[in-house]
């Protein structure tokens, strides 16, 4: 029906009869400048099902979602939505919580039924109900949303999507910033929606979730539809093969893990390191060649350990020692001078320069090297960009694009490449593969491993336990600001780690 221009939408007053799809997109195309984001995208959503939408970074998932929600105009193709764009609610991949508004106002922002003269009193109980359902009983309705931690903001966003009471609910990587407990709540919410007859689209790079949750799975590759199957008919390997296509599986063959713990010499020592109000004094040694994971729920302080080591905790106590030299005072530059490099957990906020080209992002932490004597050398910058781009599996042709034009996962790779550029002695990462697809994630782990093999130490905070187990040699688990235990990953399973960070036994909590 439509080619270009407005996305034509079926009259919303005509409800979709049973058995008819709520949303049907076929042959949708969309390009940004020279980039064809959607080549031929098909998707059909039925009420009462959870439909996983999978694909590599840049496959076009988010773009398709935006077209369905009416946020972007397709260049061509057909789109039918039973209830119109207004019957589609979306949790976008990038946070769309408005920091200056209260939690209450955020929940009802853009809600179609809110009257021009707002009567907040009548909205409060409704908001409360939706928030409580996602485990946000403790969150004050009047608190500015910008003050909430990242995970809670993400949950509020999900609350907003459910509060709209649309028949199609699309969740674009809703769990990327959440830890397992919270993820369970989101699962429950998604199931409730399905049981109420909604079509739920679930986009995620965590394949485990998909098998747990989804009824149907659609895979996209290079902007086009690859396949749609019942989830039960697929295996992980099949899924991965479809997602990454010709690159197939041999690329996932990983460098064998060398357990370095106890073998290498201690490169980094944290001695009685503490940040008042965040985490209690802890001791930790990282050997050269070792990847140490650190994990915990919100409020565990685990993420603050990485930030503090990277120089961000201003009031820290204790010592950070790298190769026998103490990092005398807090501060990012000081940490960098001692060979500590940091990868932020919030790439849009402070992880990448969205306005700046990929190449210039990559060189941003080593300007001294690409500009000897203060004058930039184009060739040096270019070859640096190419080298690190290759390591991080960033499309070479995108080196000249503004980072903001890349898909979320590819932005994450840029963030990593940038921090690896200085050749750090200690690489500190905060949720390093948030939103990164399986293929690229494996590549990133490989690279972390190579970096470690070259003698660096790696400290990695993640709430993704699969990541901890896949990527790390040792893990530090934390609960309410204290270390629960430090253990070799080998022999640990997710259950064990989860137990640590949820219900630590009294005697296990370090004094």
């Amino acid at each position: 029906m439509t080619v270009g221009g407005e996305n034509a939408v079926v009259d919303p007053s005509k409800a979709a009869p049973a058995g008819k799809p709520l949303v049907r997109a076929s042959g949708v195309t969309k390009s940004y400048g020279g980039v064809q984001a959607l080549v031929r995208a098909d998707l059909e959503l039925m009420g009462g099902e959870i439909h996983a939408l999978l694909g590599e970074n840049g496959a076009g998932k988010s773009t398709l979602v935006k077209v369905i929600a009416g946020r972007e105009q397709a260049d061509g193709g057909e789109l039918e939505i039973a209830g119109g764009h207004a019957d589609v609610s979306v949790v976008y991949q990038e946070l769309t919580i408005v920091p200056a508004l209260s939690v209450l106002d955020n929940v009802f922002l853009g809600h179609p039924t809110v009257k021009q003269l707002m009567r907040r009193r009548s909205l409060r109980p409704r908001a409360r109900q939706y928030l409580d359902a996602l485990g946000l009983e403790h969150v004050d309705l009047d608190r500015p949303a910008g003050e909430l931690p990242l995970a809670e903001r993400q949950l509020v966003e999900i609350v907003r999507a459910t509060a709209r009471e649309c028949r199609t609910v699309i969740l674009d990587e809703p769990t990327a910033t959440l830890s397992d407990v919270e993820i369970e709540r989101v699962f429950a919410a998604a199931r409730r929606l399905r049981d109420d007859g909604c079509a739920v689209v679930w986009i995620s790079h965590r394949l485990k979730e998909v098998f747990e949750l989804a009824d149907k799975v659609t895979v996209m590759r290079n902007g086009a539809h690859v396949s749609t199957d019942p989830a039960s008919a697929l295996t992980t390997d099949e899924l991965v093969a479809r997602m990454i296509g010709s690159r197939a599986l041999q690329e996932r063959e990983r460098v064998a893990r060398v357990h370095a713990s106890g073998t290498g010499s201690a490169r980094v020592r944290l001695e009685r390191l503490a940040l008042p109000g965040r985490f209690a004094p802890l001791d930790l040694e990282l050997a050269a060649g070792e990847i140490v994971g650190i994990t915990g729920q919100i409020g565990s302080g685990a993420d603050w350990v990485t930030k503090t080591v990277a120089g961000l905790g201003r009031d820290r106590a204790g010592r950070v020692v790298v190769d026998g030299r103490e990092v005398a005072k807090p501060g990012v530059r000081e940490a960098l001078a001692h060979g500590i490099s940091y990868v932020s957990g919030d790439r849009a906020k402070d992880g990448v320069f969205l306005d700046v080209t990929v190449e210039r992002n990559i060189s941003s932490m080593v300007l001294g090297e690409v500009a000897p004597g203060g004058v930039l050398q184009r060739g040096k910058e270019r070859s640096l960009g190419e080298r690190l781009g290759r390591l991080m599996a960033i499309d070479r042709r995108r080196l000249g694009s503004r980072a903001g034009e890349l898909s979320g996962g590819n932005q994450q790779k840029v963030s990593l490449a940038k921090s690896i550029a200085p050749g750090p002695k200690l690489l500190v990462l905060n949720e390093p593969t948030r939103g990164v697809d399986v293929g690229a994630r494996a590549e990133i782990y490989d690279h972390l491993r190579k970096l470690a093999d070259d003698g660096a130490a790696v400290l990695l905070f993640s709430t993704d336990l699969v990541e901890i187990i896949e990527a790390c040699d040792r893990v530090v688990t934390m609960f309410r600001g204290r270390v629960v235990r430090t253990a070799d990953v080998e022999g640990l399973d997710e259950q064990a780690i989860l137990r640590d960070i949820l219900h630590p036994q009294e005697e296990e909590v370090a004094a």
């Binding site: 979306v90 990038e94 769309t96 920091p99 508004l101 106002d105 922002l109 009257k115 003269l117 005398a328």
Partner: protein, 327 residues
């Protein structure tokens, strides 16, 4: 709600009010008569102009935009009011305000329609409006013959107010209500706080921007028209300093340049602070240099305090002191 928490949550607002009180205290201690009704009337008259313009401008700032054209609007609206006021001041006022509304909407539409920074758009309209002012006035100061009108708009009400200052106060209250109690107001704040996020969430960001410019255009025009009737004349050069004063008032009042933050109560305090400073300095007959320098110091102090400057300064100093000890 306990008072300590309330005080902690509103530290910045309390600081601002304290500053205003300190100024008032200083001037009245320095010279008897500062708080006399006659002088308070003069203070409120000054507020009538600055406050009104600042209220409007700060709505655009809260929406994450900026209206550089308010100063020129004050001038041109005054001229329009006088030219169109031949058959009666009310008609002149109406035409001028309608003009302000129209230009405001135009500013807003250009900004959202072109998807460019409103600073650039309003630099353009600012220059054009000034040209229009010169054109309409034919290079002259235009004057109004009906003396009664000036007496009316500036007549004393309740010893320190006048219709002009009451209009300004009413305008502030209206916007306060808009931002607090309406969906549009919420969308304006959301738009300023995070444009992309607000739009993605379905807030009417374009409407919000256009409305905020409509408000600032209307308020500036209203201020200009009332001023013209108060002075019985209007000149293309009016309002030259007003823009910077209004920005200062808004920022003193806690409106963030980045958008999303601030409210009319704060802006009122900000405008009153500037007004009290200028009124006070003029009251004690301060020298030219003293006026400039105290204005500068006050602004610098407020902006430093509101940036958490003293604490940062202490921190920087501590860091300096600590460094040699560790090496």
């Amino acid at each position: 709600m306990n008072i300590a928490k309330l005080a902690r949550d509103n530290r910045a607002s309390l600081l601002r009010i304290a500053l205003l009180l300190a100024l008032v205290l200083y001037f009245s201690a320095n010279r008897a008569g500062f708080l006399d009704t006659g002088n308070l009337f003069s203070l409120m008259q000054a507020f009538a102009l600055l406050g009104l313009v600042a209220f409007g401008l700060s709505v655009t700032m809260i929406a994450g935009e900026f209206d550089l054209s308010v100063g020129a609007m004050v001038a041109v609206a005054g001229i329009i009011a006088i030219k169109a006021g031949g058959s009666g001041a009310a008609a002149g006022l109406a035409v001028a305000v309608a003009f302000g509304l129209g230009v405001g909407i135009l500013n807003g539409l250009l900004t959202v329609g072109l998807g460019v920074s409103s600073l650039v758009v309003t630099v353009g309209t600012q220059i054009m409006l000034t040209g229009l002012a010169y054109g309409l006035a034919g290079g002259q100061t235009v004057s109004y013959e009906n003396f009664q009108v000036a007496a009316d708009v500036d007549q004393v009400i309740a010893t320190i107010f006048s219709p002009r200052s009451l209009v300004a106060i009413a305008a502030g209250v209206l916007v306060w209500l808009l931002l607090r109690c309406t969906r549009l107001g919420r969308d304006i704040i959301a738009t300023g706080s995070s444009r992309e996020a607000a739009a993605a969430a379905g807030a009417r960001t374009r409407t919000a921007v256009v409305v905020s410019f409509a408000i600032s255009g209307t308020f500036a025009a209203l201020a200009g028209a009332l001023l013209a009737f108060s002075l019985l004349s209007a000149a293309p050069t009016t309002g030259g300093d007003l823009l910077l004063q209004a920005v200062s008032a808004a920022i003193l009042g806690g409106v963030a340049l980045a958008g999303g933050i601030g409210g009319m109560a704060g802006v009122a305090v900000g405008a009153l602070t500037l007004t009290a400073l200028n009124n006070g300095l003029s009251f004690i007959g301060a020298s030219d240099a003293a006026i400039s320098i105290s204005n500068g110091l006050l602004l610098l102090a407020v902006v430093t305090i509101s940036a958490g400057g003293p604490a940062r300064l202490a921190e920087l100093v501590r860091a300096r002191i600590r460094r040699p000890a560790t090496s």
